[in-house]
Amino acid sequence: MRLSVSQLLGFLSLFSVATSSGADDLLTDYHNEVRPILAKLCFDCHGPDKAKGDLRIDTLNADLVHGDGTGADAETWLDALDQINLEEMPPSKSPQPTSAERQQLVDWIGRALRAAAEAQRYADGRVVSRRLTRYEYANTLRDLLGLQMDFARELPPDPASPEGFLNNGNTLEMSGTQVETYLAAARQALATAIVEEGAGKPEIHRFEVADTAVGKLPRRKDGGAEPVNPEFVVDVKTFPREGEFRLTIRAGAQVPAGHDFPRMRVSLGNVPGIIHVPRKLVGEVDVTAPAEAPETFEFRGRIEDFPQPGDQSFGSGVSFHGMVVLIDFLDAEGRELRYADRTYSDPKAGNKKQQAEAEAARKKAAAELPPDGERLDVLIDSVVFEAPTITTWPPPTHTCWLAAAQGIDDEIQRAEAVVGPFLERAFRRPVTEAETASYVALFEQVRPRTESFNAAIREVFAAALVSPHFLYRIETRENPEQTEPVTDHELAGRLSYFLWSTLPDTRLLDLANRGRLSDPEVLAGEIERLLDDRRTTEFADRFADQWFDLDALDRVAVNPEFYPDFDNDLKDAMRTEARGVMREILLGDLSCLELIDSNWTVANRALAVHYGLADRPRTGEFRRVSLAPGERRGGILSQGAFLVAQSDGQMPHPIKRAVWILDRLLDSPPPPPPPDVPVLDPESADLAGLSLKEQLAVHREKESCRDCHLGIDPWGIPLEHFDATGRWRETAPVRLAGKGKKQGARAAAPVPADATTTLPDGTAIDGLAQLKRYLLLEQREAFARSVVKRLMSYALGRSLDFGDRETVERLTVDFIENDFRLRHLIVALATDEVFRTK
C-alpha cells in the first residue's frame, strides 16, 4: 500500500507536525471537536459565570497562529495542556474527560502550539548571518593559515538546535569569554604563521633509534629502546617546546597463520615514574608488512598538544627528562598485546624472595605461551623523531602574507600592501578601500607599541580574526523586508560551509569575483566538483553526527556490572560506523533507504566481532563489510550508534529508542512529556518481577501517560532483541522481586525477549526486520520528508518555518522520484531557490 501524504499524516495525527496543521484546519478542528469538549468540562468554572483563577477558557483565542500578538494565549494554552496532562484539571470531583476526549484536547493544543511557534519564527525573521561553529572555526583557521593546530580547544561547545543541529544561526551564541578565546587563539596562531624578520630557523631536534630487536629485552642502556611485551619506549632527549613534530617508524609484524594483523599504537608525552602509562595518543595504524620487510609509517602532531616535562617559566634549570615515545600493539580486536613472559621488572627490585617469585611467574608464563617466533609479534626497525618539521624558512604563511611588502620602504605603505589580501581571504569576499584603511589605521595605532613591523601586522591580522566578518557568515540585505538573491560570494560561502565545513577555496572565490557562480550551469558544476572532492567527507561526518545525535554515545555510560566485557572504545567504533555508512551513501551515490535497511555496513575488526558478523576485517581499520540475512543487521536501527546511545547503559530503553525513531527518522516527535512525569524507574518496587513490556504497561496505566505512550512505545519494542550494548539477545533479564538490591538485578531469571507489538495504525510487528519492512513500505514519504527537512535545516543553518513548506514538499517529491539518492538531493537543494536567496 502506498499512502498519499495526507493519508499518511492522518495516521500520524497524534504526533503530526505543523505540515498538516494549517491555521484554518486548526480552527475548524477547534470548533468542531475541541470547543464542545471544553464547553462540557471547563466552561462552568472558567467561563462567563465563574472565571475561577481569573481564567476564562471560553474567550481564550483559539487562533494561536495569529494570536493576540502578545503570545499570552499560547502561554495560557500551554498551562492548560500541563494541567490536563497532570490530571489536575478538571478537578477530581468534576466530570472527567474520556480517554478519547483527553487525547483530542492534548493533540489539538500540541499541534496549535507548534504551528504558532513556526509562524512566530517566520514572523520574527530568519537568522541568515550565522556564527561559525566550533568545528567550522577550526577548519577555517587551519585552511586560512595553513597550520594544523587545535584552534577550537578552549572554545565552549556549541549548543544544539531543537532539530539537533550545531550550525543553527539562532542557537549559536556569543559571549565575552568566547571573544577573549578567539583573540587569544588568533594571536597564538599568528605567532607561528608570521615570524620576525631575520629570526633564525629554529633548531631542528632530530634523532634516530635503530637496531631494536624483536621480542627481546636488550640492556636498558642500549639504544634507548626497550621492547617489552611487545612494547617499545623511546626516550626523547631533546625537543622543542612547540611546533609540529614528525615521527617516522619502520615496523613489521610476525603473524602466525590464522592470526590477524596487529595494530600499532603510538603515544607521546611526559611520563614521570611509570613508563607504562601511555600518554597522549599520536596515532594508530595496522601493521601488515612482514617483519623481514618493514613498512614506514609517519605520524605528525603539534608538540605543545602533548604533556611535556619540566617547567618553562621559573627558570629552575630542570632538565628535560621523561619525555617518551611509547609504541605498543593491539590485536585486531583492540586488546593490548601483553606477553607475561616478557614483563619487564628490575632484576634488583624487591628482596630475594620477590625476585624469585617474579622469575618463576615469568617461566610459568613462558611455558604456557607459544615460543618466540611462533606468536604474534612485532619488530620496530627504527624510530626517527624530528621537530619542528620545517622544510622552508621562513614559514610559507609568512612569505605568502608578507610578500606584498617586499621592496616597499615606508611601513604604512607596506601595511596597506599586506592587509588587503589577508582581509579578502579571511572575510571570503572583496573588501572596500575603507575597510582596508580602517585596518591600516589600526596598524598606525599599534605600531608604536610593538617592537617590529611584523609584530604589529600580527596584531592587525588578529583584529581581522575577531571581526564579525570573519567569525560570522554575514549576509547583508538591500531591503530587510524582502527576499533577495544571495551574492556570488555569499553563495560561495554557503556551498563550502555546507559541503566542506570550511571557507571557500580559491576557485570558488575566483568564480565569485568574476560574477560567474550564480550562473546555473557553473553552479551545478561547482556543486559536483565539491561533492567529488574528498573534503566532502566532512559533510558526511558532521551531518551524521548531528542528524543521528552521535554525541549521545558519550552521554551514556555502559554499566560494567551489567556488561563487564564491553570495551568503551567500541563507542568510538560505533560512531565511525555511522559516519562511514553516511560517507558510503554519499560517495557511492546510494539511496538513503540504505539507512533503513542494507546488506552492508562499515566496521573494523572489534565492531564486527561485537556484532557477531562473519565478514570480519583482519585489522582495526574500517571498511565496508557485507551482512548476511541471518545476522539481523543492516540500517541505522541495528547500529550501535543508535542502540547504545538510546539506551541507559544498563537496559535497552524502548521509549528513548521510539522517540528517536519518531523524531529523527519520521520527523514526528511526540509532544514533550508533562512536567513531573514519572520516569520508568527500574528500581521501583511496582515493577519488580515484571518483563519490560509489562513494566511499560504499568507505566501506561496512569491516565496522563497512556494517551501519548500508546503512540510511542510500540516503535521501540521491536528492538527488544538488542541489548544496551547493541548486541543481539534471545532473552531479557527480569529483576526478581528483591527490590533495590543490585545482586537481585543480576540474579534475574531471563525470559525470552519479546519484540511483538502493534503500531498505532494497527499494524502488528514482530522484531526489527518487520519494522524495517514497514518503514520501507508504509513510511517512505515520512522518511523522505524527514531527510529533506534535516538536510535543509543543516544546509541553511536555521530551523524551518512556515515559509519553507512548499520547498519541503517539492524537494520531497523530487527526492522520492530520484530513488532517495542523497547526492541528488544535495544538488537539488543547493540549486534550489531556497539556497540561493536570503
Binding site: 561547545p157 551564541e173 565575552g176 607599541r449 575577531v466 564579525p468 560494567p560
Partner: protein, 447 residues
C-alpha cells in the same frame, strides 16, 4: 607571633603552612592586600569554594558491618558519629555541617552520570540543547568578584570543558556556558602569580586589545542597517560580548599598576600531575589556599574528577585499589566493596581536612577570626549511591564569621528540600540579597 594573612606589612615574608611568600610591597597593602585599585574598602574578604567528587559514595545500611565505610555519619543533629570515611574531619567538627537528604529535584530525572554539570547550577539541562544555567560561584563572582584581580578561579583535575553531561568544569557563566577549568598546577600558578603584568609588552598588548576591540565594534555597528531584524539581534549579542571584553581589558589595565605578590613556587608540588593523585590533589588545595591568602580571587571551584572516562577515574589506583573509580563506585554494594570506595573517600576527606585546617590556622582580621571563618567551603558529590541523583553526600565548612551557626551538626532533610536552598543561604551569607536560586523555595532551614 603567627603571621596574619590580612594585615600585611611591607616586605613581610609570609610563611603560610609550608609556603614561603616573599611578600608584596604592594600599594594596596595598607588597605588590605590585593584590594581593588580603585577601592578603598577595608572590609575583609568573603569567599566561596565549591568542590565536587564524582560517582557517589558507599551507603551500607545501619545494621551492615560495613557501615563504618559509609560516607554519611550515624545518628543525627549534634549527636552524630563520624564513620571512618569522614573521620579525618574530626578535629574540625565545630567548623563543619554535614547534610543528608539534599539534592537538586530538577536533576533527578537526568542520567545518573550527567549531574556533575548541574551540581552548582541546580537546573535540569535543557533537552536536546543541553543548555545549562549560571553556577553558584559565577553568580556570586559576577556580583562580588570585582574586588580582586581575578573574579574567580575554576579548577578541575581533567581540565578544560569536556563534553556536555560529562563536563570537566563546575563553573557556568550567566549565559550557561561552561568556563574552561585549569588543571596543571604550573599553569594555575602562572595564572595567579606568573605573569609579569607590569612589563612593557603586557601594557602594549592590553592597549592593542583595546584598539582591536574598538575596530571590530565599529564594524559591527556599521553592519546593522544592512541586516535583517533577526540578524541584528545576533550582532547585538556580539557587540555586548565585545564590550564585556573591553571592560575586562580595562580592569586588567587598572591592575597593571598593582604588582603581583611574589610567591616562591618551590614549596608547592607544581610538578605534580594527575598521575600522582596524592601530590596532585594536595597541590590544587595549596594553590587555592595561596590564591585566598594573597587575595587574588575569592571564588574558586574544583572538580576532583569528572563523571567521564577521564584521568581522574584512575585515582583510586594510588591507594593500591583498582584504578577505576567508576568501577569501585558500582561495586560499593558488593561484599567488601564499601570498604574499598570508603578508603578512597577517606583519602579525599584527608586532603580536604588538610586544606580546611590550613585555613583555620591562618588568622584573618581581629579576635581570633581565621581565613576559614570567612570562607564557605561546599564539598560533596551529586550521586549518593552511584547513578542515584538524590541524597547528595554534602558538607559545608567554614563561614562562622559570615554568620553560619549550624556547625557541629549532621542535618537531615526530606527529599522535598532543594539543595538550591543551601545555595540561597550561602549567597546571603556572602552578603547578597538573593532570594532565590534555580528551584529554591527559600533559605535552608536550620543553617
Amino acid at each position: 607571633m603567627k603571621p596574619k594573612s590580612w594585615h600585611l606589612d611591607r616586605r613581610t615574608v609570609l610563611r603560610g603552612a609550608g609556603v614561603s611568600l616573599a611578600l608584596p610591597w604592594l600599594e594596596g597593602m595598607s588597605r588590605g592586600l590585593g584590594a581593588a585599585p580603585a577601592s578603598t574598602s577595608a572590609e575583609l574578604p568573603k569567599r566561596l569554594c565549591a568542590i565536587l567528587f564524582p560517582y557517589g559514595v558507599a551507603m551500607p545500611k545501619d545494621d551492615d558491618p560495613a557501615r563504618e565505610w559509609g560516607w554519611f555519619p550515624t545518628g543525627e543533629g549534634r549527636d552524630y558519629q563520624l564513620t571512618k570515611v569522614l573521620e579525618p574531619l574530626r578535629p574540625l567538627r565545630d567548623d563543619v555541617t554535614i547534610f543528608g537528604g539534599l539534592s537538586h529535584p530538577r536533576c533527578r530525572t537526568m542520567n545518573g552520570h550527567d549531574t556533575g554539570d548541574t551540581f552548582l547550577t541546580g537546573n535540569n539541562l535543557a533537552p536536546v540543547t543541553y543548555r545549562n544555567t549560571v553556577s553558584l560561584d559565577q553568580y556570586a563572582a559576577e556580583r562580588l568578584g570585582t574586588a580582586t584581580r581575578l573574579a574567580s578561579l575554576t579548577l578541575s583535575t581533567d581540565g578544560g570543558i569536556g563534553p556536555r553531561t560529562r563536563s570537566t568544569t563546575l563553573s557556568y557563566s550567566s549565559k550557561g556556558q561552561p568556563i574552561p577549568a585549569l588543571s596543571d598546577p604550573k599553569l594555575i600558578f602562572n595564572r595567579l602569580f606568573g605573569q609579569d603584568n607590569a612589563s612593557r609588552s603586557d601594557h602594549a598588548r592590553l592597549e592593542n586589545s583595546g584598539s582591536i576591540l574598538d575596530l571590530v565594534l565599529d564594524q559591527s555597528k556599521s553592519l546593522h542597517r544592512r541586516l535583517g531584524a533577526a540578524d541584528q539581534r545576533k550582532l547585538d549579542e556580539y557587540e555586548t560580548s565585545v564590550r564585556d571584553v573591553e571592560r575586562r581589558v580595562e580592569r586588567a589595565r587598572e591592575w597593571l599598576s598593582v604588582p603581583l605578590p611574589q610567591v616562591d613556587p618551590s614549596t608547592i608540588a607544581l610538578e605534580a600531575n594527575p598521575d600522582g593523585p596524592k601530590d596532585y590533589i594536595g597541590a590544587i588545595y595549596d594553590l587555592m589556599f595561596l590564591a585566598y591568602q594573597t587575595d587574588l580571587t575569592r571564588f574558586t571551584t574544583y572538580q576532583v574528577g569528572s563523571y567521564g572516562p577521564t584521568l581522574a577515574r584512575t585515582f583510586p589506583g594510588c591507594l593500591g585499589l583498582e584504578a577505576n573509580w567508576h568501577g569501585l563506585a558500582h561495586g560499593a554494594g558488593k561484599k567488601g566493596g564499601a570498604e574499598k570506595i570508603g578508603q578512597f573517600d577517606r583519602f579525599l576527606a584527608e586532603n580536604l581536612a588538610r586544606f580546611l585546617q590550613r585555613m583555620k590556622d591562618t588568622p584573618e582580621g581581629e579576635d581570633g577570626v581565621s581565613m576559614l571563618d570567612r570562607t564557605l567551603v561546599l564539598y560533596g558529590s551529586s550521586n549518593s549511591k552511584t547513578h542515584q541523583n538524590v541524597n547528595y553526600p554534602l558538607l559545608l565548612a567554614g563561614g562562622r564569621d559570615l554568620g553560619l551557626a549550624s556547625h557541629g551538626q549532621y542535618l537531615r532533610y526530606g527529599a522535598d528540600t532543594p539543595m538550591s536552598n543551601l545555595f540561597v543561604t550561602m549567597l546571603q551569607r556572602l552578603g547578597l540579597e538573593t532570594a532565590s536560586f534555580a528551584d529554591s523555595t527559600g533559605p535552608l532551614e536550620g543553617v
